[in-house]
């Protein structure tokens, strides 16, 4: 029995949909992966701030300078900068000056002033810096008073290299 027209049409459609037909229209193509499977990790960032020893600000009198040393240590990755700010100081005539220091001792303090609110030079990863905090009572300060100030250290990261 000869196949009817409908059967022939079905056979042609089936052929066109088959893999043979697909292969007939294929073209060459070559490919290579790029940057795949690479893992990029982010680092961390932190700042430790503490006094070196216990600075004494008691029993001060006018023009009697007292100096404490603050230590700032970076933790984590990347480079960093720091910024210092002094707030408070309710006693009239209390002067607070920040000075750069080359080490943890008062004897390491330099005459270079650290400007409050200004960002420092970029520091290397994990570096520790020391800052001298020099306080002086003004000449007109009354005896028996007290004052409080806060040294606020802020750090921000910088690119790794």
């Amino acid at each position: 029995m000869r196949p009817g027209p409908r059967l022939v049409a079905v056979a042609v459609v089936a052929f066109l949909l088959s893999g043979i037909a697909t292969t007939a229209y294929a073209a060459w193509s070559a490919s290579r992966p790029v940057a795949s499977a690479a893992t990029i990790r982010s680092g961390t960032f932190g700042l430790d701030a503490a006094w070196v020893g216990a600075p004494s600000y008691t029993g001060m009198w006018p023009q009697d300078p007292r100096t404490g040393v603050a230590r700032l240590t970076h933790t984590g990755d990347g480079r960093w900068q720091y910024q210092l700010a002094v707030t408070g100081g309710s006693l009239a005539g209390l002067g607070v000056t920040l000075l750069e220091s080359t080490g943890p001792d008062v004897a390491d303090c330099t005459a270079t002033v650290v400007t409050p609110g200004a960002w420092s030079a970029t520091q290397p990863t994990g570096a520790t810096v020391y800052v001298c905090v020099r306080t002086v009572l003004g000449a007109g300060s009354a005896p028996g008073g007290s004052a409080a100030f806060t040294l606020q250290a802020t750090a921000r990261n910088q690119p790794t290299t």
């Binding site: 070559a30 990790r41 982010s42 290299t161």
Partner: protein, 188 residues
């Protein structure tokens, strides 16, 4: 005459007629080889690594070296992947077109957000003395008429930049894994 003798004569006559008839029915015939010694050679289209891909810091100094999976990026960092491929094309009427799949991240987190979509760049230059020509576009290229084997150097870079505006302590200690990046050259 005996019957057997008559039979033998009849068979002999029949054979003679058949032989004679074969000769009579032949026609002239000649033959020449048409495709003998003809070699059909296929062309070539391939892409292979010429210089293995490597990562490096893209800003600041390049040391210490950036090592994927080990080095840790921070806001403001920029890193770049560079790989050089060799594309080889041969075909009398071959035309080919490149395409580039920008790598994606296998997942999403604050780090992938801070890194953003990778920036890619692709440059292609012809090397050697092949006859193929190359037309370059923005991160694409096409090859035409490499009737002799022609090679091209294709340099691909993928750059990631950690958004320096990443605030507070977000996007720390996370992983971003790249996937599905590919350079493809296809016959058109």
């Amino acid at each position: 005459m005996r019957k057997t003798t008559k039979g033998a004569i009849a068979i002999g006559a029949g054979v003679a007629l058949l032989l004679g008839g074969a000769g009579t029915l032949a026609y002239w015939s000649d033959s020449k080889p048409l495709s003998s010694g003809t070699t059909i050679t296929s062309g070539k289209l391939s892409v292979a690594t010429k210089t293995a891909g490597s990562w490096a810091w893209a800003n600041g100094t390049t040391t210490p070296a950036f090592v994927p999976g080990t080095s840790k990026v921070v806001p403001g960092d920029s890193i770049r992947y560079t790989e050089v491929f060799t594309v080889t094309a041969l075909g009398s009427r071959l035309n080919a077109q490149s395409s580039f799949a920008v790598p994606t991240y296998s997942g999403t987190n604050a780090l992938t957000t801070a890194l953003g979509t990778p920036a890619v760049a692709l440059t292609a230059v012809k090397t050697g003395s092949g006859t193929g020509t190359i037309t370059t576009g923005t991160n694409t290229f096409s090859i035409s008429s490499p009737t002799t084997e022609t090679t091209f150097d294709v340099t691909v870079t993928v750059t990631l930049t950690f958004d320096s505006a990443t605030a507070g302590l977000s996007a720390q200690d996370l992983n971003a894994v790249l996937q599905n990046g590919a350079v493809t050259i296809s016959q058109v």
